[in-house]
């Protein structure tokens, strides 16, 4: 028996529906159909009236979730793809993000964003938007990389009074499996040391955690380098304590992410490490992101657009040779 990443998301929603009458699900094709990725399969039957199909109206979907949250509910909104949240952008960044600051009334919505690239998905079904939403005060942005985190962080996101963008990586949906949900007790907002090492630190999140570990394994095998991998888990807030402690141990930093190269998580982490822990660095920090184009469609191009174990190893060798 094993459970996949997307199953964990489904089970978390089932648990939430079971435990908390304030929870309901809203999204396109999530009811009887169970969602484009089957993340809500069977839930409509088990919880009638609490798993609702929405029209193709992302702006209204977010607005309605916000209204229901103001009125005491805990909606979980499924975007069919993260990319379509661009249509609900205004409600997310201007209504949800500002409401608590303006009125003192929190807006506990959780917006599930199926994120990241898969081969053949193209420019509009592959986007990683964590770097966009994290810019806005008032939003919490979480990016689970493991099966247990997918479960646990969804439970905690819904428990949080603030609006959460829950970025789930489509590439991990069925590929990532665990024997069972087994959480190590880290709360939302804390990073995890996924792999210990002492020669350099890779700070990353979501699917790239696995690519980083692959690269680290390879560097160890091939050259004996011991690379530490930090999984941020939430990109806003950022757990700088864990990041700085790791950099203090290793003296070398690569930040790694799948979103576009200008700004974003990798820039924020480098900027904060350099401002807050400049003296810890023995070498210039490095960044690795996707390329500065839309996500290409053809798998040949896609594979070269995002960071890979190969490109991570190249960057790490440069970093280590400094």
């Amino acid at each position: 028996m094993s459970i996949t990443y997307v199953d964990a998301i489904r089970e978390a929603q089932e648990q939430l529906l079971k435990d908390d009458p304030r929870v309901f699900l809203y999204g396109q094709d999530i009811s009887r159909f169970g969602g484009a990725f089957k993340a809500t399969k069977g839930l409509a039957d088990a919880y009638p009236g609490r798993v609702l199909d929405s029209p193709i109206s992302e702006d209204a979907m977010v607005g309605m979730a916000i209204g229901s949250a103001i009125d005491g509910m805990r909606p979980i909104l499924e975007m069919q793809f993260a990319d379509f949240s661009s249509v609900g952008f205004n409600q997310i960044v201007n209504q949800a993000a500002t409401h608590f600051y303006r009125t003192g009334i929190p807006v506990p919505i959780t917006v599930r964003l199926p994120s990241g690239g898969t081969p053949g998905s193209g420019p509009f079904h592959s986007q990683s938007m964590e770097s966009i939403y994290a810019h806005y005060p008032g939003l919490v942005v979480v990016t689970p990389a493991t099966v247990s985190d997918a479960y646990q962080m969804l439970i905690e996101s819904v428990a949080l009074d603030d609006p959460v963008l829950y970025c789930e990586h489509k590439f991990l949906y069925r590929w990532l499996k665990a024997p069972k949900i087994d959480h190590d007790g880290l709360p939302l907002g804390r990073a995890r040391i996924t792999r210990h090492g002492r020669h350099a630190t890779i700070v990353t999140y979501s699917a790239m955690v696995h690519e980083a570990v692959r690269a680290a394994d390879r560097l160890q095998q091939e050259s004996g380098w011991e690379i530490e991998v930090v999984d941020l888990r939430t990109v806003k807030p950022l757990d700088m304590d864990t990041v700085l402690a790791s950099v203090a141990r290793t003296g070398r930093l690569l930040t790694l992410g799948e979103s576009f190269p200008w700004g974003g998580v990798t820039a924020e982490v480098v900027a904060r490490v350099c401002s807050e822990g400049f003296h810890l660095l023995d070498a210039p920090p490095k960044r690795l992101n996707s390329r500065d184009t839309p996500v290409p469609y053809h798998p040949n191009l896609w594979a070269a657009h995002r960071p890979t174990p190969e490109s991570i190893c190249i960057a790490m060798r440069e970093l280590l040779s400094f």
Binding site: A60, G63, I70, T98, T103, D162, L188, P237
Partner: protein, 317 residues
């Protein structure tokens, strides 16, 4: 509605005197529409999302004068504590939403609140209402929100105050249908039309729409035709509105019409109304005076926290 006019007249002169923090947007000429809506709703029971010209509706719904005075005069005691201002004020926990500027954005939010009531089993006899301008009907938010409310058959009342202009833009640059009322059918919601300068008609039609929604008749859309009798904001002289329009039927002041209607129907005498007016003027004056003396927001006492307290999260300071 009389209170609203008194209040706004005062705000306009305070604005001219430079005493107001930020802009002033008035509902002059739109009080009959707005107050008919607000007055049909119950405080802490229904939901009301006013827009920029809804002082009339706010007052009628039950908003405290002081909330208004404090926000305009920058008192930290106001409901927004200086973080947001004037027409953006609200008390969401009491059912009075605090608008964001983006037009149309309130439509799905009210809808969502009604959906919450249904899910909680508390929808019975509840109405959610919002106003929007002719210009606001061109937003995707209006369309998506109204459509979603119609699909859910929720008791949403949308009042379109068609004051013929969106800022300076006339109706013919805003939409091409003959009457915005024609849109109701396309959403599958009940449609109504009313002369927004006629107080009794507003009471009847808007009150009727609210009653229908309350009784389970599903979403309602009311289109009220009128003119605003002020500029877009107090910085604007509204000179793009043709004199012929001002001189015509839509240009009549709903307050004058209402006064006449009350007198004619024997609801009140001219003297009684004058009495109310001076009493209200007094109340307005007192509220403004109180607010003016209160403390202003102070950055050193501001928490600067956009997220609600959550000790479990290592939020950045």
């Amino acid at each position: 509605m009389l209170e609203a006019r008194q209040l706004e007249t005062k705000l306009a002169s305070l604005y001219k005197a430079g005493k107001i923090v930020g802009g002033v947007y008035l509902g002059k000429g739109q009080e009959a529409v707005s107050a008919s809506l607000g007055g049909s709703l119950k405080w802490k029971h229904d939901v009301f999302a006013p827009l920029i010209r809804d002082q009339g509706g706010r007052t009628a719904f039950g908003e405290d004068l002081l909330d208004c005075a404090r926000t305009y005069l920058g008192s930290v005691e106001g409901p927004m504590r200086g973080r947001d201002g004037n027409i953006h004020r609200g008390r969401p926990a009491e059912g009075l939403l605090a608008m964001i500027s983006h037009l149309g954005a309130a439509v799905p939010v009210v809808t969502g609140m009604l959906l919450a009531r249904r899910l909680k089993g508390e929808l019975d006899g509840v109405v959610g209402a919002t106003c929007i301008g002719d210009g606001g009907t061109s937003t995707g938010a209006f369309h998506e929100g109204l459509n979603a409310a119609a699909v859910e058959k929720l008791p949403l009342v949308v009042v379109v105050a068609n004051n013929q202009f969106a800022y300076s833009t006339p109706n013919d640059r805003q939409f091409a249908c003959e009457d915005l009322y024609d849109r109701a059918k396309g959403y599958g919601v009940a449609g109504h039309r009313v002369d927004g300068t006629d107080f009794l008609a507003c009471l009847r039609v808007i009150g009727g729409a609210v009653a229908s929604a309350r009784a389970g008749g599903g979403p309602q859309m009311v289109v009220a035709n009128l003119l605003r009798l002020s500029g877009h904001g107090e910085h604007d002289d509204g000179s793009y509105v043709p004199d012929t329009l001002r001189a015509g039927h839509l240009g009549q002041d709903c307050m004058d019409v209402a006064r006449q209607q009350m007198v004619d129907s024997g609801y009140a005498t001219a003297e009684e109304i004058e009495g109310w007016r001076s009493e209200l003027e007094d109340r307005v004056q007192r509220a403004l005076a109180k607010a003016q003396q209160e403390t202003k927001p102070d950055p050193w006492h501001e928490t600067w926290q956009a997220c609600s307290q959550n000790p479990a999260l290592p939020f950045e300071a």
